[in-house]
Amino acid sequence: MTPMKELRVQLEVLRYNPDTDTEAHFQRYELTCPEEWVVLDALNTVKAEIDPTLNYRWSCHMAVCGSCGMMINGTPKLSCHTFLRDYEGTVIRVEPLAHFPIERDLVTAPDDFMEKLKRVKPYIIPKEKKPISEGEYKQTPAQLMKFRQYSMCINCMLCYAACPEYGLTPSFIGPAALTLAHRYNLDSRDGGRKERQEVVATHEGVWECTFVGACSEACPAHVDPASALQQMKITSSIDWIVEHLIPGGNK
């Protein structure tokens, strides 16, 4: 068996202790890691062997749970999905997700996102309720494909950290929540679009988006939030035209 190649890794991690600090500061850690390790492995080694006070979130270590999102050299990434070998010979700067308040070290407060997620009603609101005895709500593969991409969101909030509009205007509902609204609007079993439009078709909704497109670049689940928001701008504009310019359209 060929010996495992090792890398000398330098991490520069943003630290913030709410009990003692008024400002955040960077702390440097140096360690040796196998070359196939990811940034999260390095953080776990730091916590286990160098500095047990370091705080960060993680869970699945396989890019599914969406817990370990961080800014890595200024780009929002899942730390379990970011290989150390791609940064060989450089200092890797690890910061908490941008645009969210820092709770402690790399842990951010997701409260604002959770609140916005609730506002878009990200669940099926059936067109017509029917008793279980009538059987399931059926859907063709084509109807599924219409929204499938948008259902892959893992709520990791990387798109919020990537979105400059959200950073500048925190009232913006933001990419992931609006994309999930779109996902349910496109679902053939759903009849809740009108309710969601009260949040979607507003200045804080899709109209705050200026199509920077950074959300789609950041998404580790290959969802394309920028496309969802542009499509919702078109449908919201059609709603407005029907309501205001077509006689009888506001009925």
Partner: protein, 130 residues
């Protein structure tokens, strides 16, 4: 244990220097200035035309100045960049689903280039170039 989250503000006037994606976005936004300026120039041209032959001749002479040629070249470059980046993004706003599959992005943006070309020739034809 106290909860005292630290909020880091986004610098309102320099945020777009932070990432290449943001710089690309801002460079596209800036092209709008040239597009708008060219629209103003067209309106001024119409106004000069309405003012009579002498005024229009003077306007046309002005267009041949070095400053005007530099502006037109810049406006052309900005408009082409604006149009190309827009065409490249159209598949996001207007996906076309056929059965279970979506039409390839290149087909949608390619169709826009074809329509652009055809309309350009129609305008040149109406202007008497051919």
């Amino acid at each position: 244990m106290s909860r005292r989250p630290l909020v880091r503000e986004v610098p309102p006037t320099s945020w777009y220097f932070h990432r290449p994606t943001y710089l690309r976005y801002m460079s596209r936004e800036i092209t709008c200035i040239f597009v708008a300026a060219y629209c103003v120039l067209l309106v001024v041209g119409l106004q000069r035309l309405a003012a009579g032959p002498a005024a229009y001749e003077a306007f046309l002479l002005g267009l041949k100045s070095a400053d005007s040629i530099v502006f037109h070249l810049l406006a052309l470059a900005a408009s082409v960049y604006h149009a190309a980046t827009w065409f490249g993004a159209t598949h996001k706003a207007m996906p076309i689903q056929i059965g279970e599959n979506f039409v390839q992005p290149g087909v949608i943006s390619g169709a826009h280039y074809v329509v652009w070309l055809v309309l350009s020739f129609v305008i040149l034809y109406l202007a008497g170039v051919f």
